[in-house]
């Protein structure tokens, strides 16, 4: 199901988030991150809402929607499209690669029937590739939502996935 956010909800969410982080330049990325965390993505309609609350030309603070768009589209943890309810982020950096990462990503793809970057039709899973997650001593590693799974073998993949509703 497509997460529907009404205009009213979006405006009040942006209000709350901007109120928490402050209407300053250095709060832009934290604001975008928090909206992404709450909704699973940053809807395009949120950008003008944020811009209106932060922009303050009389104080020399000029901001355009395109500026916010350029930021959202740059960072890997922010998304402009809704993604799956559970997001798998698989570490494809060299340290995980040399100790068996290749076999684990293959097992994940086979089990889910997804290629890297794809979301399942029922929107349950998104399989994304990511750079180093900083837990290399227990590689191969992948992240499901906020849970880190380390020392993974291909055989364990079905069991791990079964834990998620």
């Amino acid at each position: 199901m497509e997460p529907e956010v009404s205009e009213l909800d979006l405006a009040s969410l942006v209000d709350k988030v901007v109120g928490k982080h402050g209407a300053t330049r250095d709060a832009i990325i934290p604001i975008l991150s928090e909206i992404n965390r709450v909704l699973g993505y940053v809807p395009a309609a949120a950008l003008p809402e944020i811009r209106r609350r932060i922009q303050a030309p009389q104080e020399g603070m000029f901001l355009a929607d395109s500026h916010l768009y350029s930021a959202v589209s740059f960072y890997q943890m922010l998304s402009l499209q809704p993604i799956g309810r559970h997001v798998i982020r698989f570490c494809e950096s060299a340290p995980c690669h040399v100790i068996g990462g290749r076999q684990v990503i293959q097992a994940l793809q086979d089990e889910l029937g997804l290629k890297p970057g794809q979301t399942s039709n029922d929107r349950k899973w998104s399989l994304l590739m990511t750079s180093c997650l900083g837990v290399c001593s227990v590689g191969p590693v992948f992240l499901i939502d906020d849970d880190i799974h380390g020392n993974v073998t291909p055989e364990q993949v079905p069991d791990i996935l079964a834990r998620y509703e």
Partner: protein, 550 residues
């Protein structure tokens, strides 16, 4: 809690056993019990250490004294003199000239193997990271108290300068000098930024500090703020480290509640505020000017330099940007003095280095040792040898942007100086150990895929270069490349390292160039024979490895 003072190892390889190692082991346990040291000394056995003349060996840590050959009659003396009184017994030490070729490097240590020496990680894992009381009871805030009440900002900078502390983020720039630049640059306000956007593949040393000892970052940043006359600091934590972010936020709140952060710290005129800032996932934001752009709410694209952040940094103001590990060294330096810091390591580079050991070894994790340790020592002692007794093929030092060290160069000491001279980088301290089953083409592909994904796209050589190199290496792994492609790769690589705007493009092909230098035959085999000697590249057939073994 049981606190172990020493650890004793007894060799139990075949020759040792034949010469009575078991009796020595039993006698040691008895004598240690006799002296009432059972709770303080651990005794264990080790297999072959490569020394066969002077067996059985008894190795006593942390002094790393190697005794041999030890008989039951010697045990009493070793326990009484060394374990009880703390004196090494020279007459019983093993003869160093009898060390075989595998352990020849031990001779340089003059009877002492390097032991871990913790400065950066001294509290990590020992204190409660969410309690400022715990931090204070472990020497916390002594340095800041000393600096604010007894030292001028110039004296703080001079002390850091004298300590020889160099940036641990990768470039090795002298920290004292950087602080002096910012302090002497006109302009106000000034900022202190702690670069905690640790994204170099294979590196997690900063996470250990942020999660295990967050208050040390707050104290160190406040010290830096005092030294350069800044009132505000930002700590930029990568988005993938939510726990580190929570702990830092908690540390900021507790420090403010105790009057150790905020207005009038320690009742002086000095005020300093810190903001915890989370990134949103971008390797490039570890580059200091990209980090500043990202802090300002933009895409993390590196600026053109000069001007450097020391003159034109955050919001256009003079800014100090220091890595987590660098800052973690500052409070101990102020507390104990520059002279103390200087004597920690015997090499030209001062202090310790935190390394992360990864890959095909028996033990993976982080260690902190004095500068100047060799890769062989790291692998044999801390990595506990290669996994499944495979042969070492290569080590990538310093993360994915780092250099490739073939097995033949593993005795180069790891410090800024020696590493530069041998053309190898210390980088972030990640040591990726790869065994004989690793295919260099496959590894190069994984490394270049990382840079292709993480390139920010601002400058042309990097944007096109990372993509083209990845494409060519992919073609090699599929048997679709020709030998002339190798020359093309070298030309692209050279152009990237010379004209890219920032470190990412300049170092993206470092590993590739080293692969061409040390493992060209293996790469050419992929092209000419359409074969992968390690049997890794899926499309190609594998070959008996005897063909390529020199």
């Amino acid at each position: 809690m049981k606190v172990l003072r020493s650890m004793v190892l007894v060799s139990v390889d075949d020759t040792s056993l034949a010469r009575g190692a078991q009796d020595v082991f039993r006698a040691l346990l008895d004598e240690i019990d006799e002296f009432g040291l059972t709770d303080q000394v651990a005794v264990t056995t080790i297999r072959d250490v490569g020394i066969h003349e002077d067996t059985p060996l008894v190795i006593v840590y942390p002094d790393a004294a190697v005794y041999g050959s030890v008989t039951v009659a010697d045990v009493h003396t070793i326990v009484e003199e060394h374990l009880c009184k703390g004196n090494i017994v020279p007459s019983l030490l093993a003869m160093m000239h009898e060390f075989g070729p595998e352990t020849g490097w031990m001779r340089g240590r003059r009877g002492a193997l390097p032991v871990q020496k913790r400065i950066v990680l001294e509290r990590a894992g020992i204190v409660d990271p969410e309690s400022i009381e715990d931090y204070i009871s472990y020497d916390g805030y002594q340095a800041l108290g000393k600096a604010l009440t007894q030292m001028t900002p110039a004296e703080v900078i001079a002390e850091v300068d004298k300590s020889g502390l160099q940036g641990r983020g990768g470039a090795g720039f002298p920290t004292g000098q950087k602080w002096r630049f910012v302090a002497s640059t006109p302009g106000s306000p000034k900022y202190v930024i702690c670069n905690a956007d640790e994204s170099e593949p294979g590196t997690f040393k900063d996470r250990l500090v942020l999660e295990g000892d967050p208050f040390s970052m707050i104290e160190a940043m406040t010290l830096a703020g005092y030294a350069v006359n800044a009132q505000e600091g930002y700590i930029y934590i990568r988005g993938e480290y939510p726990l580190a972010h929570r702990r830092i936020e908690n540390a900021i709140q507790q420090a403010e509640a105790h009057g150790l952060l905020g207005d009038h710290i320690f009742g002086t005129d000095f005020s300093f505020h810190i903001h915890a800032h989370a990134g949103a996932g971008a390797y490039i934001c570890g580059e200091e000017t990209a980090l500043i752009e990202s802090l300002e709410g933009k895409r993390g694209m590196p600026r053109a330099r000069p001007p450097y952040p020391t003159t034109y940094g955050l919001f256009g103001k003079p800014t100090v940007v220091n890595n987590v590990e660098t800052l973690a060294n500052v409070p101990p330096i102020i507390r104990n003095g520059a002279a103390w810091y200087r004597q920690v390591s015997s090499s030209k580079s001062a202090g310790t280095k935190v390394y992360t050991i990864l890959g095909n070894v028996n033990f993976t994790g982080a260690i902190e040792v004095p500068m100047g340790i060799t890769l062989r020592e790291v692998i044999d002692i801390y990595g506990r040898g290669m996994k499944n007794d495979k042969k070492l093929k290569l080590v990538q030092t310093g993360g994915s942007s780092g250099t490739i060290v073939p097995a033949s160069l593993q005795d180069v000491p790891l410090d800024f100086e020696a590493f530069r001279n041998a053309g190898v980088s210390l980088g972030s301290g990640a040591l990726l150990v790869c065994d004989e089953d690793t295919c260099v083409v496959d590894l190069a592909k994984a490394i270049l895929r990382f840079f292709r994904n993480e390139c920010c796209g601002k400058c042309t050589p990097c944007r096109i270069g990372t993509l083209r190199l990845y494409e060519i290496v992919s073609q090699i792994s599929e048997g679709k490349a020709s030998l002339t492609d190798l020359d093309l790769m070298l030309r692209i690589s050279e152009a990237m390292s010379e004209v890219s705007n920032c470190g990412l493009g300049q170092t993206a092909s470092t590993a590739l160039r080293d692969f061409m230098k040390y493992f060209r035959a293996e790469i050419e085999t992929h092209i000419v024979e359409r074969a992968c000697p390690s049997g890794v590249c899926p499309v190609l057939h594998s070959m008996p490895d005897s063909i390529l073994t020199p």
